[in-house]
Each structure stands twice: as C-alpha cells, then as structure tokens.
C-alpha cells in the first residue's frame, strides 16, 4: 500500500517536473538521493565515484524525463539510469585489471560429494550481529562479484526489487536474473563462510 502511494506521489512530481516545475524535480531528488547514493556506493565502493554517479544519475534523469513512459515505476526507471551509470564507470575503469569470472569465486566442491561435512553455522540469522569484521567481509565479498552479478544481487536482495523489476533495470530476462542471483548468492555464501566456520574455506575449496 505504502509503495503504491509512493509511486503515485512520484508520478505526480514527474508530471509537474515535466511541466517545468523545478521544485517538483528537487523533491524527487530529496526522496531518492539516499537510496541511489547507497546503491551506487555498493556497486562502486568508492565514495567519490558514488558521488559522481549520483550527480550524473539525476542530471540524466532530468534531461531524459520525457523518455520515462511510465511502463515501470519511476523508482525502477531511476535505478536503471543509476545502475547503467555504475556499470559504465566500472567497465571504463576496467581496461587494465584482469577480468573476474563468477566460476573463479563459486564453490569448487561438487555438492553431491559427501566426503566433507558442511559446517553448521548454527545461529538464527536475525540474531547475528553484523559487527565491523563481518561487515567488512560482506562488503569485500560483494566487490569480488563480477559487476553484472553484483548488480543483479544488489537490486534483488539488498534493494528489494522483484525479479521482474530487476530484469527491467538490467535489460535481462527473468531467467537470466534468477540464474545470476543464484550464482551470486552461492559465491557470497562461500566468501563469508570462514567467518562462521574457519574450516569452511578449506573444506569447500577442494
């Protein structure tokens, strides 16, 4: 319900902004600035780059507001602009380092090979405190994901978009989003496993 009324308010503001009401555009900026910054920062993990991306996103959004056809929510459209900016920036800066493949960070064990025991992490997920050490490990693990997997994971699991909306943002099919999300989750599970069970890294790296 809340999201519906937020969408309606967004559309009201978009219509006003298209008719030349600049304060309506500024209200859209105020509404989305924290979320879009957070998303850009998680994609890029660099404060200055995230800030630049945020500025570019709202500049483009203003200039291209007429191209928003309201087939999706404004939020989805704006995240598409922001995510594309982040992906372009990452790819531009990536001319030198070696490319990361998802296979390099996926668990290497065969899950039907029961010669090792999967350690029990035990805790109720809601009761696990995200302390500095765990947070740093979670952040660095996301950064290790190839950027297209990182984007799918962040949009679905961190920003909370549906598969359909994530597919729209990334220009992929639903099946592609699901496949990337699943592999990203498997890779992240493997990356953070040593925090819960120091033996996990060794066993699952076989």
């Amino acid at each position: 319900m809340r999201r519906e009324s937020e969408n309606e308010r967004d559309l009201e503001l978009v219509h006003k902004a298209r008719n030349g009401d600049y304060t309506a555009f500024e209200e859209l900026v105020r509404r989305y600035q924290p979320r879009i910054f957070s998303h850009c920062y998680r994609m890029l993990k660099n404060y200055q780059d995230a800030q630049d991306c945020l500025q570019e996103t709202f500049l483009k959004a203003y200039e291209k507001l007429d191209t928003f056809r309201e087939e999706s929510s404004f939020s989805v459209w704006l995240y598409k602009v922001a995510t594309n900016n982040c992906l372009m920036r990452i790819r531009k800066n990536q001319s030198h380092p070696e490319e990361i493949h998802i296979e390099d960070i996926l668990p290497r064990h065969r899950h039907d090979d029961l010669s090792f025991e999967v350690p029990d992490w035990g805790a109720d997920p809601e009761k696990i405190a995200i302390n500095g050490e765990l947070r740093a490990l979670m952040d660095s693990s996301v950064l290790k994901l190839p950027e297209d997997y990182r984007a799918a994971f962040l949009l679905r699991d961190v920003e909370g978009f549906s598969t359909k909306d994530t597919a729209h943002i990334l220009g992929l099919t639903d099946a592609n989003v699901k496949s990337r999300l699943h592999r990203a989750r498997l890779a992240l599970r493997k990356q953070i496993a040593p925090y819960f069970s120091p033996a996990a890294g060794k066993e699952e790296g076989k």
């Binding site: 900026v29 600035q33 998680r42 699991d157 699943h182 498997l186 599970r189 953070i192």
Partner: protein
C-alpha cells in the same frame, strides 16, 4: 532428488518460487541429508544478512551540495 539437484533449486526454494511437487522432493531430501540441511541454512543466513544491511550513511550536507550542483547545471543563471 540428490544433493546436486537440490543445490540448483535453493534460490527458488528460499524465494518461495518452487512448485509444490519439487518443494516436497527437496524437503524430503533435506530431512534425510544433514549436509544439505546445513548448506541450505548457511545459504539462507547469507541472504538474510545482506537483506539486513542498513543504507550506506551519507553526510547531511550532501543533499544541499547535490541540489546546488544540479541547479548550477539545469537552471539558467540568475541575472
């Protein structure tokens, strides 16, 4: 269903997007297989932790800087 097949369906199971027949097969397998139970539990914990991440903090003055930057780019200069 064996362990390898189960691993393929874990995200769909977690997201409640699995058909009831496959869901039943998966749950039957997990009841019998401690490794798969532990694997699924750690998979679920991973996703749950990321879903709980708070937004990245942003200094308060950042909004005013952004608005001022955008005005400079998008509005005609005042006479």
């Amino acid at each position: 269903m064996n362990c390898r097949e189960l691993a393929v369906f874990l995200s769909d199971y977690l997201d409640s997007e699995l058909d009831s027949e496959t869901c039943a097969l998966l749950e039957t397998h997990m009841e019998e297989c401690g490794n798969c139970r532990a694997f699924y539990s750690s998979f679920r914990i991973t996703v749950s932790l990321y879903r709980r991440l708070p937004p990245e903090p942003l200094p308060h003055e950042h909004l005013e800087e952004l608005l001022s930057f955008l005005r400079g780019k998008l509005l005609p200069p005042s006479p």
